[in-house]
C-alpha cells in the first residue's frame, strides 16, 4: 500500500512543485486550496496507478497508454498558450496568475482514448532522425521541447522534470 495522503504530505509536494515551476518559468495556480486539491488528486493517482496520471482525466492504468497524460502532460504547454491554463488549471499563465486574464474552462485537447488509440504514427525514415555531426542522437522532450544530444535521453528532463520515457528522437 502506498504512503498515506496527509495534509503535510500534500503541502510538501505542493512546495516542491511550486519551486520547480518557478525555476522553469511556469506558475502553479495561485488559488492555493484549489491547487492543493489537484496535488491530492495526483497523489491518489500515484497510489492507484504508480504514476501521476492527470487528476482530471480518466487514466487507463497502463503507463504506456497514459504517458501523454502523466503530469505535466503533453498538452500543458499548448493549453497554456491558447487558454492561459492547463486542462486542470494546475498550471496557469502569467496573465491568469496576475488576474489580467480570466480563467475559463479548457476544452479537452487529448484525442479520444489518447494517442495510442489512434492509428499508428508513420515511422520516421531513419534518414530523417537527427544526429549531431559527431554522431550523437538528438532527443526531444515531448512536454517542454527541451533538446539534447547524448547517447540516451536524460533520466529526467532538466527543465520540466518528466521521466525519460517522455522523450522522442528528434527528426
Amino acid at each position: 500500500m502506498s504512503a498515506e495522503i496527509t495534509p503535510e504530505r500534500i503541502e510538501k509536494v505542493y512546495q516542491r512543485l511550486d519551486r520547480e515551476a518557478k525555476e522553469a518559468a511556469y506558475n502553479l495556480n495561485p488559488d492555493k486550496s484549489f491547487t492543493l486539491g489537484l496535488v491530492e488528486g495526483l497523489l491518489v493517482n500515484e497510489g492507484r496507478y504508480g504514476y501521476w496520471a492527470c487528476p482530471c482525466r480518466l487514466a487507463d492504468g497502463v503507463r504506456e497508454k497514459d504517458l501523454d497524460i502523466i503530469c505535466p502532460c503533453d498538452y500543458r504547454d499548448p493549453d497554456l498558450d491558447e487558454y492561459g491554463a492547463c486542462f486542470c488549471a494546475l498550471y496557469v499563465s502569467d496573465d491568469v496568475r496576475d488576474g489580467k486574464q480570466e480563467l475559463t474552462p479548457v476544452p479537452e485537447r487529448r484525442p479520444p482514448g489518447g494517442p495510442t488509440a489512434q492509428a499508428e504514427e508513420p515511422e520516421h525514415d531513419e534518414e530523417l532522425v537527427g544526429f549531431t555531426r559527431s554522431g550523437m542522437p538528438v532527443w526531444r522532450c515531448k512536454v517542454c521541447g527541451y533538446l539534447c544530444a547524448r547517447p540516451q535521453p536524460p533520466l529526467k528532463c532538466p527543465i520540466c522534470k518528466v521521466d525519460k520515457d517522455r522523450f522522442e528522437r528528434f527528426a
Binding site: P55, C56, R57, L58, V106, P107, E108, P112
Partner: protein, 96 residues
C-alpha cells in the same frame, strides 16, 4: 471513501440530471457542489471508481454525448449535455 454511484435529492426535480465525474477531479467537485448548492436532484457516477466492465459501458454512455469522454459531463433529460464546469450554461439548461 467516495461512493462510485448514487443519487442526490433536491428541490429541482423537473429534469433528469446525470453527472459523470472523476473522484480526483477538482472541476468535477465544483460542478457537483454547484448542483447541490442549487438544490438540483441528480444521479452521479465516478467513472474512475468503477470496475472495468462497468467502466467501459459507462464510457460508451458518455461517448454518445461527449466523444472525448472528458469530465465532468452532465447529461440533462437524455437530450442535452454540458461538458466541463459551466455554471451559467447549467443554470440556463436547468432553468435555475
Amino acid at each position: 471513501m467516495v461512493e462510485s454511484r448514487g443519487s442526490i435529492p433536491g428541490a429541482h426535480q423537473k429534469h433528469l440530471v446525470k453527472f459523470y465525474g472523476l473522484s480526483t477531479c477538482i472541476w468535477c467537485r465544483k460542478t457537483r457542489q454547484f448542483l447541490e448548492d442549487e438544490s438540483v436532484a441528480f444521479d452521479f457516477v465516478y467513472v474512475d471508481l468503477l470496475e472495468s466492465d462497468e467502466r467501459e459501458s459507462v464510457k460508451d454512455e458518455i461517448r454518445k454525448w461527449n466523444p472525448r469522454v472528458s469530465f465532468p459531463t452532465v447529461v440533462i433529460d437524455d437530450a442535452q449535455c454540458v461538458i466541463g464546469f459551466k455554471a451559467d450554461e447549467l443554470k440556463q439548461v436547468l432553468g435555475l
